[in-house]
């Protein structure tokens, strides 16, 4: 009798763990890490909160852009770097034509969309040829595209591609300068509706609303026919093919949507930052977005916008507090900096590792 009760208890405990702890293991670990880091950083909570809200607003759009390829079975799309490039190219022209404020921002969205569709289409074609190793291919594709991007804007800007504003070009008149001041569109979206509930905290409600709309749209999209087809393709390409779904086309559409969202996300990101690092702003986009999503508890097969938001929150919390925590704990702020880069790479590595491991065990 006694034994029975015990086994029952153990069972309940196991169920409790399986239901509530395991799916959230990664975010919980990072929450604890953030808690410890916050304690040792000695930073004031309003400062941290303000920073985190700002970063959440500017980064979550990019992170959410990763979700659709995950659902369509392409894994984590490091190719959003190409989307980010499309966004930046649009911003070059908006800055060149000095279109200011929210009009400039909207124009940037409009210009970036066709570019991102083309880039996304090309990425989709490449990824369809490398099924089973999409992630590494999309990552290398990001590096490759970065080379092309540099070639185009170092050699062709000012010669083949005309620029009106000569201040954007290098002194020789050929090639874009290393950094670009986005004064025209700076805070164009954030300042549309910003509230300050407490001193020291500014909440860019308008940006958060845009992110909210994206989340709703995403939920709606996944219920449409196309969304359902993507789920099917993501579950099993072979079955989907037999069921009459054009697998390659569905995958390509997933990548295109992701690339377009990434382009818009990068524009939202840069309007908050205010300066564009011509040859560098896009490079780390894939890494940080993927790491954020994974920290939120997503896997290579499953991701939701909730995970994206939680992950972005935790990852950037870690970003803010780790230099100070490193300084106070080890006497060197650089340790904190290295630590957070290590976390970004490490969490991706670990997630991929665990996923591959589980996959093999299933077989």
């Amino acid at each position: 009798m006694d034994n029975n009760v015990k086994t029952q208890e153990v069972k309940n405990k196991n169920e409790f763990f399986e239901k509530y702890i395991f799916p959230y293991a990664v975010p919980i670990v990072f929450l604890v890490l953030c808690g410890i880091g916050f304690y040792y950083s000695g930073l004031h909570y309003t400062f941290v909160l303000n920073e985190v809200i700002g970063r959440l607003a500017r980064n979550s759009f990019l992170v959410i852009s990763l979700i659709i390829p995950v659902i369509a079975g392409l894994g984590l799309n490091f190719g959003i770097v190409l989307g980010a490039m499309a966004g930046q190219i649009a911003l070059f022209f908006v800055t060149d034509y000095a279109v200011k404020g929210i009009a400039g921002l909207l124009l940037a969205f409009v210009i970036s969309t066709p570019l991102a569709i083309i880039f996304g289409y090309l990425t989709g074609q490449v990824l369809n040829k490398s099924k089973g190793r999409e992630m590494i291919t999309s990552m290398i594709l990001g590096f490759f595209a970065n080379g092309i991007y540099q070639l185009v804007f170092l050699v062709m800007a000012g010669t083949i591609i005309p620029f009106k504003n000569k201040d954007l070009l290098l002194s020789t008149g050929v090639g874009l300068k290393n950094s670009m001041d986005l004064a025209g569109v700076r805070y164009a979206l954030d300042d549309l509706w910003k509230i300050r509930p407490f001193t020291g905290i500014a909440v860019p409600i308008s940006t958060l609303i845009v992110v909210g709309i994206l989340c709703v749209a995403l939920t709606w999209f996944l219920k449409t026919k196309l969304g359902q087809e993507m789920r099917t393709v993501g579950q099993d390409m072979h079955v989907a093919g037999v069921a009459g779904i054009d697998v390659d086309k569905t995958r390509t559409i997933a990548v295109i949507i992701s690339t377009v969202l990434a382009a818009w996300g990068q524009i939202i990101f840069l309007q908050n930052i205010g300066t564009l690092n011509t040859y560098g702003s896009h490079e780390q986009v894939g890494l940080f977005a993927v790491a954020s999503l994974l920290i939120g508890g997503a896997s290579i097969k499953k991701a939701t916008y909730g995970q994206a938001l939680i992950g972005t929150f935790l990852f950037h919390m870690l970003f803010i507090i780790s230099p100070m925590a490193g300084q106070n704990l080890m006497g060197d702020s650089q340790i904190g900096e290295f630590f957070r880069v290590f976390v970004a790479y490490g969490v991706i590595g670990l997630a991929l590792l665990l996923h591959a491991w589980q996959d093999k065990n299933k077989k």
Binding site: R133, I140, Q150, G175, G346, A356
Partner: protein, 347 residues
């Protein structure tokens, strides 16, 4: 026409395109009267200094693990070896040999555990390996900062702790191999020792491939099911391949650094696997097939391209064009290899 097609197929598009590109650049270099002997010396040096890192790809591909994107694992082991030898104020050949002797056991241990890990994730080696390499490099950044080295050559002059970003090898193992038996023909400086050492490493890997254990390893890599049926422990063979690859990576970075004159720490090794991967692919290797000749041809073509493009493009275009070309060629070739159907199931 048929013959030409056959020839193209034999040589392969990557080699053909890169070779053609190199030829055009050479013609430009001749037209622009860029001093040839200096270029050739440069090519030879860089060929020797990168060769072993490229060679590190061979055992991994042969064992069926695919391209070893986790090359940085071996590289950090090599760096630790070199740092320890400098800490003990060793110089010249003694320093070089001690560096290698320290690096080999380290790389063996690291490679062993990495190999065990890869056995659990068959089919995803390259994707995971890439991020394992990145994590190792970024994790080692913290190590470099905290490592208990004391030699003033190694640590920051101010503060007295934490390794420098670049460590000069001038007074230790710098140019040891390059200057060994070096001679000069028609203005071309031949780094004899460096080339001999590279040749030696190639020979060792080649001979290993012909020994019994090498044949078994290659059989395991070529067809896992068949190998298992004949009683080969495939997992063990894969671990051997990874260990060899990691060890070669460690030796490779020591040879690279002595020729470069500096040890590069912190984030420098982050993308170091990419040029090596690209070189072996340019040479004609694929994700599951490789020969020593691929390493030699590929390293030569890739490094020659980089060396020749630098002065030519500096004359023709503004800015750091050579770096841009390197990025495009290097990553383009990797994508080409990844998208080929013949790549098999290895990812």
């Amino acid at each position: 026409m048929e013959d030409i097609k056959k020839l193209i197929q034999r040589v392969g598009y990557p080699r053909l395109i890169i070779g053609g590109f190199l030829l055009i650049l050479c013609i430009f270099a001749a037209v622009l009267s860029i001093p040839m002997p200096a270029l050739i010396s440069d090519i030879l040096t860089r060929f020797g200094m990168n060769g072993i890192l490229v060679l590190a790809m061979v055992p991994a591909i042969q064992a069926g693990v695919g391209l070893n994107f986790a090359l940085p694992l071996g590289i950090v082991c090599g760096l630790v070896g070199a740092l320890v030898s400098i800490e003990f104020e060793l110089a010249g050949f003694a320093g070089l040999i001690v560096s290698i002797l320290i690096a080999i056991p380290l790389a063996t241990i690291v490679g062993y555990f990495y190999g065990l890990m890869l056995n659990r994730i068959k089919g995803q080696e390259m994707t995971v390996g890439n991020y394992v390499g990145f994590s190792a490099v970024s994790g080692m950044c913290i190590f470099w900062l905290l490592a208990p080295f004391k030699s003033p050559e190694l640590i920051w002059a101010v503060g007295g702790s934490g390794l420098r970003v670049t460590v000069s090898l001038e007074s230790s193992i710098g140019y040891v191999l390059d200057n060994f038996l070096t001679f000069n023909i028609a203005g071309i400086q031949i780094p004899t020792g460096l080339l001999l050492f590279f040749a030696l490493c190639c020979l060792v890997v080649w001979i290993f491939g012909r020994t019994k254990s090498g044949v078994i390893m290659r059989a395991a890599g070529a067809n896992e099911k068949f190998a298992t049926a004949t009683g080969i422990n495939v997992n063990k063979q894969r671990v051997i391949g990874v260990i060899l690859s990691t060890v070669l990576g460690a030796i490779g970075i020591i040879v690279y650094s002595q020729s470069f004159g500096f040890l590069q720490l912190y984030n420098a090794p982050l993308y170091s696997a990419m040029p090596a991967v690209a070189a072996v692919l340019i040479g004609g290797a694929s994700i599951n097939k490789v020969k020593i000749s691929h390493v030699i041809v590929g390293t030569f073509l890739f490094q020659a391209l980089l060396v020749v493009s630098l002065p030519v493009l500096n004359v023709l275009a503004e800015g750091n064009m050579s770096e841009v070309i390197r990025t495009i060629v290097q990553n383009g070739i990797i994508i080409y290899a990844l998208t080929r159907k013949t790549g098999g199931e290895v990812a």
